[in-house]
Amino acid sequence: MHHRKGVDGDDFSTDTLRDQIKTEKSITQYYYVYRQKQPDLFRSLSLLRQQHISYCLKGLNGLSSSFDCLDASRPWLCYWILHSLDLLGHELDEDLKSRVTDFLGRRCQNENGGFGGGPGQLPHLAPTYASVLSLCIINTTDSLNIINRDKLRSFIISLKDPKSKGYRMHKDGEVDVRGAYTALAVASLLNIDDEQVTSGVDEYVQSCQTFEGGIGSFHGNEAHGGYAFCGLAALMLCKKTEKIDIDALSHWAVRRQMSYEGGFQGRTNKLVDACYSFWMGSMFPLIHACLACRDPELINPEIFGFLQWTPPNHYSASGRYDPSKQVTFTQAVHFEEESDPNDDNEDQYPELDGGWYFDETALQEYLLLCCQSATGGLFDKPGKSRDYYHTCYSLSGLSVSQHQYEKPSSVLGNESNLLRRTNPIINITVDKVESTLKHFGKSTL
């Protein structure tokens, strides 16, 4: 296991360095005891599952007036909470399912297609994505059939920007790579992703890849974890993975994991934030798939089946994935026998045997040790408050890092920490992706 290296400031102090050192210090106190007592403590590291479930259920049933500022994002609140609950394995009762269906399908859905941020608000791609995903999580006949697919398709096509070939977020709204991703994600799930919806998106995303290798929101903008996820996922959904420089993107992506904190930053020289556990973490299975398209002799193409995704060309036959492979915990954690000569105090580190090109152990340590609120919910970093957004994307990133396709699950701490498996392209659980696709007459994304 590597040593957790703090930032090397080269004795050259600037604001960025001061902020980074401050963050590392705030995290040291969480890691200190743990590091001293390994391996005794890590086995008892636990996900506060019941507390997180209670926090989520509370929000679903009512939010205080401090949420006034999220009044235009209510479908997002639904999605963040419902997906968190699904990952945590909490089954919703029928009453709650019909309430969600009614609220999103009958109140937020616009008569001309698409969903608004609340009843009576203009339709917008972001709440459309959140609403469709929420209804797919509910996954009843009613919740799936309530989506007006024909009108949604027309709404999506109406937002295409002919100049950039990307998508606007709403009528006369901004064009950025979130638009391309959210449009393609819902279109693919609902089987309305025809040529008219997908064409040109690849050129748009390609124009957003920056000199650093990552992807920004628009041509010229800085590479950023959230946009990079959206761009890469959009390319996968329109089957144009060859349009990205995958070597440059991979290098940029691996660089975003913080050596000391274990979590991810979203941009070069920025601070760790638990939400990038998903935005960055989920890119690794996607990168694996892109590399498998190019170097099938180096990367096992079963990744395609694992992602419920059909690659461009004709890879699908060899890409079958048998989900029953992925169940045991045997040898999920092992200790390195050799101690590192540079290390004086700590001679044994737990290390998960994961296969993604990031350090699953370090990410899970960050999330479980530093980002859980004792009363439920997760947060960005120590010192910040919990919220539903960070809860959703921390748990999603944890799920991505726990589930492997060539190896057993890689779960740090107690075995009961295992979350349900999310699909990293769409970010709802694989069961929900499968039954949604089946409902709309498709087998893979």
Binding site: C69, D71, D172, E222, R255
Partner: protein, 299 residues
């Protein structure tokens, strides 16, 4: 707007309007316990929207709505139809620096008015408070391009990079500006920019931003042999005095991969072995790179 809130029913100018309650349904999820003021204001906003009323009072009302929730894109959209108004947006921008709507609204208004005024100064003020504000940088790029205001940008960036060499947003903007000034990226430009980056690297060799910049300048638009040579020499010189610097390794590894000669592929494998040791959090990735180099070497 007065500090004391007067309910709309007590405002004579709104007498003729019947407020519309939000249709949340009988048993909604994620219901918000809105403040009375929020609920009251939104009820009248819904009524104005429904009647598609274009008036001074409607404009004043959108102001109240946006003050309660600056992310209400419906109100912003409505406002664009109502009036062109830069002063209002100035104030809202200062208060809501991380909000998509307010920044896009500025863009929409500037597109119509074509009067850029002191827009770059306002953006600079916000960047001086939060040097990595993504929205502010996105907006700056749009303004510079839309109004052809390239001339002062490099000087502005020199100041920011001097203040904080780790400000990656500033490095990104430099690339944006250089790519405009010399779209084909001549070797002369590339070499100058690599030199600029290495001046900064020599101050703080563990700062990722100028490394990424130098690598980006060398590799953009198909890459240039002369630029890669300069990059390689810079990295080798740095590694002589800082042998475990990971960034020097990354750059050399890319140079070796690009060259593809057996000698360089073998050297690349050694670099990967080194990175596995001292860049442990990325161990699996360096092992993959090594595997790929070994495969190429065998062919």
């Amino acid at each position: 707007m007065s500090n004391i809130y007067v309910p709309f029913k007590d405002r004579s100018e709104w007498n003729d309007v019947t407020p519309i309650e939000q249709d949340d349904g009988p048993n909604p999820v994620v219901p918000i316990a809105y403040t009375d003021k929020f609920r009251d204001t939104m009820n009248y906003f819904r009524a104005v929207l429904k009647n598609n009323e274009i008036s001074e009072r409607a404009l004043a009302l959108t102001d109240e709505v946006i003050n309660l929730n600056a992310a209400n894109y419906t109100a912003w959209y409505y406002r664009r139809d109502l009036k062109e108004e830069m002063e209002y947006t100035d104030a809202m921008t200062e208060e809501n620096q991380k909000n998509y709507q307010v920044w896009y609204h500025r863009q929409a208004i500037l597109e119509k008015s074509r009067d850029v005024g002191s827009e770059l100064e306002l953006v600079a003020r916000i960047i001086s408070e939060d040097s990595k504000n993504y929205h502010a940088w996105v907006h700056r790029q749009w303004v510079v391009k839309e109004f052809n205001l390239w001339s002062g940008e490099l000087q502005y960036l020199d100041g920011l990079i001097k203040d904080d060499v780790r400000n990656n947003s500033a490095w990104n903007h430099r690339f944006f500006v250089i790519s405009h000034l010399d779209p084909s990226l001549s070797d002369k430009t590339r070499l100058e920019e690599i030199k600029y980056a290495f001046t900064s690297i020599n101050l703080a060799p563990n700062n990722e931003s100028p490394w990424n910049y130098a690598k980006g300048v060398a590799s953009a638009k198909g890459g240039s042999d002369a630029a890669y040579q300069a990059l390689k020499e810079g990295a080798e010189a740095l590694l002589k005095r800082a042998p475990v610097n990971p960034f020097g390794h990354y750059v050399l590894l890319d140079c070796c991969t690009r060259s593809g000669t057996n000698q360089d592929l073998e050297r690349g494998i050694v670099l990967c072995d080194n990175l596995v040791k001292f860049d442990g959090i990325r161990k699996k990735y360096w092992e993959f790179r090594k595997q790929k180099l070994s495969k190429d070497l065998a062919h």
